[in-house]
Symmetry: C3
Subunit: 361 residues, 3 copies
């Protein structure tokens, strides 16, 4: 989508800050930059996750260089300690704690293995708005691995990428997009705007499955299938995916519920802006076709990571190209039918914040 450089993102939203597995109780703090703001993420000794600005209020030293102690996180320079709300609770060698001694604290929700941070007005933080992705909690039926890529592109380019799948037979021609190019670009496309973004599903009926599908489902070489790609974008920066196929004749198009076998996987995509030209790409690929097969989830994960690196190369070059002439038009094709409402949903969310957070500071 066109990058909105004035207002690159909404602030009043939950953003994926870290996987729950990235920080442990009382352990090493984790530094991250979210929406151009340096934050430090840690768990206190009781195990609660906190997100603070990564700057001691005393001498502007990053708290990431400090350590978690009994009462909070301690700066590594002169030893000031801050609690989870950002309040200074100790100055070594001094009985007096200056009243202005505090750092910004960001509201946190931990859910579905994700540490979400609210980057806008804390008074507006509403836990119920954090995206649901219950499959992250179900390792038995939907085994998966926490992944994170840092990509040098605006976060919205990654969302664009997921909204137009006709890129698959081109970028991924040697991997998941091999085989019948025409079938892949000519799939039917059913798009539905939602309250929080857009939903679409693409159907490819009675086609030859890609090699990865055959292998995953244990199909014979001449097996044909009905294949679907179902995506939901939830603004500002989450995409839920359900992809799969059943053997031709089992009427997947009519109903997929409760039909065992075939090939299917779910993907969680969480994109968090780092700067205007870089982002974090959190994802999990859930093995729904062979959840108990030894090594199958690791193999799936490895293939997905490889495939996403193919996208990464394009996204970073695309960002550089846009950066060289930021204002220029992009000419849409008929395949941008989901991308356009996704962009509108994001823009509406940004526009709803005027006067915006930065201006108000």
């Amino acid at each position: 989508m066109q990058l909105n450089t004035d207002k690159p993102w909404p602030h009043n939203a939950w953003y994926h800050a870290a996987w729950n597995s990235e920080v442990e109780a009382g352990g090493k703090p984790l530094a991250r930059m979210l929406l151009n703001e340096d934050v430090v993420i840690y768990r206190d000794v009781q195990g609660a996750a906190h997100v603070l600005e990564d700057r001691c209020c005393h001498r502007a030293t990053p708290l990431r260089l400090g350590e978690v102690v009994e009462d909070g996180i301690q700066c590594g320079y002169h030893g000031l300690i801050f609690d989870g709300d950002g309040k200074c609770v100790h100055v070594p060698g001094s009985d007096v704690i200056p009243s202005r001694a505090r750092v910004r604290s960001y509201p946190v929700v931990e859910k579905n293995e994700i540490i979400w941070a609210w980057m806008g007005d804390p008074a507006l933080a509403d836990e119920s708005r954090a995206v649901d992705f219950p499959w992250n909690d179900d390792h038995e039926n939907w085994p998966h691995i926490h992944e994170l890529l840092e990509i040098e592109c605006n976060y919205s380019l990654l969302i664009d990428n997921l909204m137009d799948l006709t890129h698959i037979p081109f970028i991924h021609r040697n991997t998941i997009g091999g085989g019948d190019q025409s079938g892949q670009v000519n799939a039917t496309m059913d798009v539905t705007p939602t309250a929080t973004g857009v939903h679409y599903i693409r159907w490819m009926l009675d086609i030859e499955p890609p090699p990865t599908y055959k292998k995953g489902a244990g199909w014979a070489d001449d097996q044909r299938c009905d294949r679907w790609q179902e995506f939901e974008y939830v603004a500002p920066a989450t995409v839920k995916q359900w992809t799969g196929a059943l053997e031709t004749g089992r009427d997947a198009y009519g109903s997929r519920d409760g039909k065992e076998g075939g090939f299917n996987l779910r993907l969680y995509h969480g994109v968090t802006p780092r700067t205007e030209t870089s982002c974090y790409y959190f994802f999990t690929a859930h093995n729904g076709y062979a959840p108990k097969a030894e090594g199958a989830t690791e193999k799936l994960n490895k293939d997905i990571v490889f495939t996403f690196h193919e996208d990464l190369a394009f996204l970073e070059n695309q960002q550089a190209c846009i950066g060289a002439a930021p204002g220029r038009e992009m000419v849409n094709t008929k395949h941008d039918v989901a991308l356009v409402p996704a962009q509108k949903a994001l823009e509406a969310m940004i526009d709803a914040e005027a006067p915006r957070k930065e201006a108000a500071e």
Copy 2:
């Protein structure tokens, strides 16, 4: 010369974009940045060279990541195909091609082994204005090798370098400028402005030749010579060189035409701005003294490449020094007698474009 940062170069001119040997019919596209503009250079399957902007009009993806196909160059992201004029001729999976779907195409002339691109108004592109250097077509009598250096300096600093040869006994004291320092800085200098730039010739009569000349001409150790350095600058960015010597007594000064033997070589210098602070330096060194001797041309080329790297080190440091204080005066000496009219010719060409191309866009 003083760098003109507001108007760093003329646009309505042919610039050396590539050697003809750098792209093959239907082969891999070549990315280059000319005058701050990203372009992609390729040959179609029929063999014609094209220069397009390196940005697909759909999602701003560099076309360099695509490939040349039957109908043109195909973007690697969603598969749009553009012909040599920059018109989109195919959108995979769609019968409709948006009318605005096109990329900028630059006029091209291929001549003397050079692919020239016209960077300004296409309506003004005049093939007859592309510089002639016929020796590039004569490998039998003037064997040579295509060379290209990328230098982190403004293109005009390289032209300055070629307009004042008193640098030779300093920068090149260990190579072509060894020996009699005083003789080299005290050469006579005959300067003539031309319609397109400036011509000069330096004569050093009855001097001891440098070691490379002796070796090239097969001279005895005590042989003396009349030596010349003849240069023509053609604005904006070409320099033609003819350098040589005949034995003292053969009256080279009176006439060099048709006199065999001695030492002589021609050099083509094509400088193309990349950005305000970087350029491409295309050159060929033509062995006119031993065109049939085995290995002689390769040896000459190796020596010239080494020598030009000596210049490169100075030019890049000079650029950094200018960049630290762009507006400061440079104090000319008597040796800037060719540099000054060269600078005037370039400035006149830039000024003739007001209102300039960018402003008009």
Copy 3:
């Protein structure tokens, strides 16, 4: 201290440009950037040190690429020679030297093994204002080694670091700050503003000495001591340090003069701004406790260099954190009691220059 980005430093002051040992008579010129200005430092063939701007007035080529010759420093591009006052005294191949052909020359004082350069108005250069550090001249009783670190931080952050020693038990917890944390942060602190900056002394009476002290003084494991840390900041950028301890009972607090034994060392800290976000840190650590012991000075120096690298890691991260939000407040604690008057002394020196040097140029 808060970084003053508009007026980052005073110009009318002596700055430590180099150690006397860094340039030799007639030897290779040394390039350095002082206060954002590129300079070249060299000794002429008679041995006098000079500091010139590092830019030939002819073609803006750095003089560092040239060499020292009989009459001065010669540019490596076209051979112009400049004397120690910056005047051009020779143009090869020309009888005429343009009257404007000169480069800026900076006043120099060489004292206490330091080459000091005056970066402001030459008419105001007053040799008596160069800081005294006579221990640099006394290698017999105060042996030491010339050291230099380049740090990517504003010079004032390094001064801050030296004005609040409660950082020692945190940053240096594994080296000089090991042991009794509470004793170190609770030392008494006696601060006295001076005409040129601020002086302070911290006393820790009857405490257990750190391991390095015990080893240096040859003390038994259970020996206790009276320990002091005496610092003087001289604006803009020098800190003199005297640190040591005597055995408890010898009344070090009453008088340290003429009492042999114990542990004591002096440190010279010379900080010179390179840019707003980088500086040179010149220092010497003087072994006053075992000046004749073989290897003792080298061991001390190695430990100090290691310790200062611990500071460097914090300072560079602190700079990055400040750079991300330059205008933000820093909240002082009671330990900033010496830092605050140091900052005031520096600011007064900067303010005294209005209208400042750059504005006047």
